[in-house]
């Protein structure tokens, strides 16, 4: 008997296609910045692709900070069980 196929969402081919789709959507969100004017209240958020790089950069920073704090703060999850 053949091994049961994994759910279509989990097949490597689907995952590859999903990444391509995601990349396409990401690029698509940048296109309007060529035509429309973002509000520029603080002199930075009107620049091209501001929200894209700002979202990516701040998230990366938060993940790294959390990772570093984790070395300091993490304890085995039975730490308080005594």
């Amino acid at each position: 008997m053949a091994k049961p196929q994994p759910h279509w969402l989990l097949r490597p081919a689907t995952v590859r296609r999903l990444w391509l789709l995601f990349a396409g959507v990401l690029l698509l969100t940048l296109v309007p910045d060529l035509f429309i004017e973002q509000y520029d209240h603080f002199g930075i958020e009107g620049s091209f692709g501001f929200y894209a790089w700002y979202g990516f950069a701040t998230c990366a920073a938060m993940v790294v900070v959390a990772k570093l704090l984790g070395y300091l703060l993490k304890r085995p999850d039975d730490y308080y069980d005594d």
Partner: protein
């Protein structure tokens, strides 16, 4: 005379256990709806005033912001009761109704004494909800939870007393943190929002409750505190920074966490941080934003916890590293969880988008550049820690091999109701905007705003998947300031018990003979066989009581 809507739920809670089991579902679902109707029957202004111990109490006062919060509390009580209908213990159902009643009582309180009474009722109701999970862990967590809230209550009461002495009034009106009494009231309110340094009680206690218990808990305590801050301290600048701290605390701790419901508990602190920050900004736009965000938040956070609770109920597992792949057999739970996750992330066309934008807009209007930059980073961070992390690790990631079905119908119905509301409010925000305390002149759906939000969120999503290796799940808890009472304090007591004896003998020796005599004297009267420590039999107690009564009688005639 108008009835106080809170009394419907509180009275109902008392009667519920007496009803035959067949009649209970109707009461559990009907009472919140009756309450909702009653909420809308209360006109603006003081509806009831009584004088008690020379205090002018206003137990029932209608206001637009109170009505908004009472409406969502009643809706929550209904959806929560539906979700808990067939699975929760009677104790939990009763406690949850009383808890909701307490929350609604606060929203109609026209004076600080009434507020305090309902505030404490909530503390008791919520403790019982945690207790109803019936595990030793839940019991211990509920006791820690209760201690924090009793502490907050004492601070609040001290503040109210001081405020009365200062001003001669207990009316619940806007204050500024300008006196010790007002600071105490502010701190009393903030304890219930999960503000620093006491934030740990939320992720400590809520995830120990039953699947439905956590849903109730997520809604009432913190949002009642938001209501109290909104009425009591609008525009208190310190709240901007407290709120921002809560926002980033929630994100960082949620990123470190492995327990799915604890992730969501940390994200409550994060979301309430947005509201606290808005209240601190204090303009009409910001206060509208805080109120709208509280309304939207209750719905999507409850939905997220319903989804997580369904997973817990059907699999018995709560750790992300033991879950995954559940979308295959629990499609509805996964879909509803994703709707909640999108709403909390303020995805366009969900409720979070139309509510959180108001707060960000207020920061722009006030030219608060730093605050706005931090809020934008936090919005990205919400998508990271809750919007993707929760659904990804629970429903996707690796396949855990678990194939549980979706939960029973009543739980599915509650999830569908709230998932519907998340989207309905997002697509058509006008009814929510109409409920807000100030007139709304804001259009969330502009092309520029949509583009900005899509860029922000989707590139956060990219960051999540790119950095996934840095977020490997570990079976850990994260240290927090609760370490001081959970670890240091218990260690200290144990150490004292072990070494106290020797230290005591030494101390007595050091103090010399005189101390010895005093102690010996005390031991004679108060020691195990001392006259004053004797546990007298009931008979002798009755004798003494009779004697006292006789004396009183004599004194009365004399």
């Amino acid at each position: 005379m108008t009835t106080n809507p809170a009394l419907l739920l509180l009275g109902g809670a008392l009667l519920l256990p007496l009803l035959p089991a067949r009649a209970r579902p109707a009461a559990l679902l009907g009472l919140p709806l009756l309450t909702l109707a009653a909420v809308w029957g209360v006109a603006d202004g003081a509806q009831l005033a009584v004088t008690f111990l020379e205090l002018e109490l206003v137990p029932l006062r209608g206001s637009s912001v109170g009505r908004l919060f009472a409406t969502i509390f009643a809706l929550m009580a209904f959806a929560g009761a539906l979700y808990a209908l067939r699975q929760a213990r009677l104790l939990e159902q009763v406690a949850a109704q009383a808890y909701a009643g307490g929350a609604i009582g606060v929203t109609f309180a026209g004076d600080l004494v009434t507020l305090f009474v309902f505030w404490e009722l909530m503390a008791i109701g919520s403790t019982l909800v945690i207790w109803a999970a019936n595990t030793p862990q839940a019991y211990r967590a509920s006791m820690r939870y209760l201690l924090v809230h009793l502490f907050g209550g004492v601070v609040l009461m001290a503040g109210i007393a001081g405020h009365y002495v200062d001003s001669g009034s207990v009316a619940f009106v806007a204050m500024q943190p300008d006196s010790l009494a007002h600071w105490l009231i502010l701190v009393g309110f903030l304890v219930n929002t999960g503000a620093p340094p006491l934030s740990a009680w939320i992720p400590d206690a809520y995830p120990e409750a039953s699947p439905s218990g956590a849903v109730f808990l997520s809604a009432f305590t913190t949002k009642t505190a938001v209501f109290a801050l909104l009425v009591g301290f609008p525009g208190a600048t310190v709240l901007v920074w407290i709120g921002l701290w809560m926002i980033f605390y929630g994100i960082i701790y949620a990123l470190l966490e492995n327990d799915m419901r604890r992730i969501l508990a940390y994200s409550i602190v994060n979301q309430v941080g947005f509201m606290v920050c808005g209240i601190g900004i204090g303009t009409a736009m910001a206060l509208n934003g805080a109120a709208a965000h509280a309304f939207a938040h209750i719905i999507y956070k409850a939905l997220l916890l319903m989804s997580a609770g369904s997973v817990l109920l059907m699999t018995g597992r709560r750790k992300c590293n033991e879950l995954g792949g559940l979308f295959q057999s629990m499609p509805l739970t996964a879909a509803c969880g994703i709707v909640g996750a999108l709403a909390i992330s303020a995805f366009p066309f969900t409720s979070g988008f139309v509510s959180k934008s108001l707060i960000a807009q207020a920061a722009i209007d006030e030219q608060l550049a730093t605050v706005w930059m931090l809020l934008a980073a936090a919005s990205a961070g919400v998508f990271l820690h809750a919007g993707i992390k929760f659904p990804w690790f629970v429903f996707f990631q690796k396949d855990s091999g678990l194939r549980p079905p979706d939960p029973p119908w009543n739980m599915r119905a509650a999830m569908l109701l709230f998932a519907f509301l998340c989207i309905a409010i997002g697509v058509y925000p006008a009814p929510l905007y109409a409920l807000l305390p100030f007139p709304v002149d804001y259009q969330p759906y502009t092309v520029a705003h949509l583009v900005a939000q899509f860029q922000l969120l989707l590139f956060s999503g990219l960051a999540f998947f790119v950095l996934l290796p840095l977020m490997r799940r570990t079976e850990t808890v994260s240290l927090d300031l609760d370490w001081f009472y959970r670890r240091l304090a218990t260690r200290l007591v144990r150490w004292l018990l072990r070494h106290g004896d020797r230290a005591w003998t030494r101390l007595v020796a050091l103090l010399g003979r005189r101390a010895d005599d005093v102690l010996a004297g005390l031991f004679r009267t108060h020691g195990p066989h001392g006259v004053l420590a004797r546990s007298s039999p009931t008979g002798s107690m009755v004798l003494w009581v009779a004697l006292l009564l006789a004396l009183l009688l004599l004194a009365g005639y004399a």
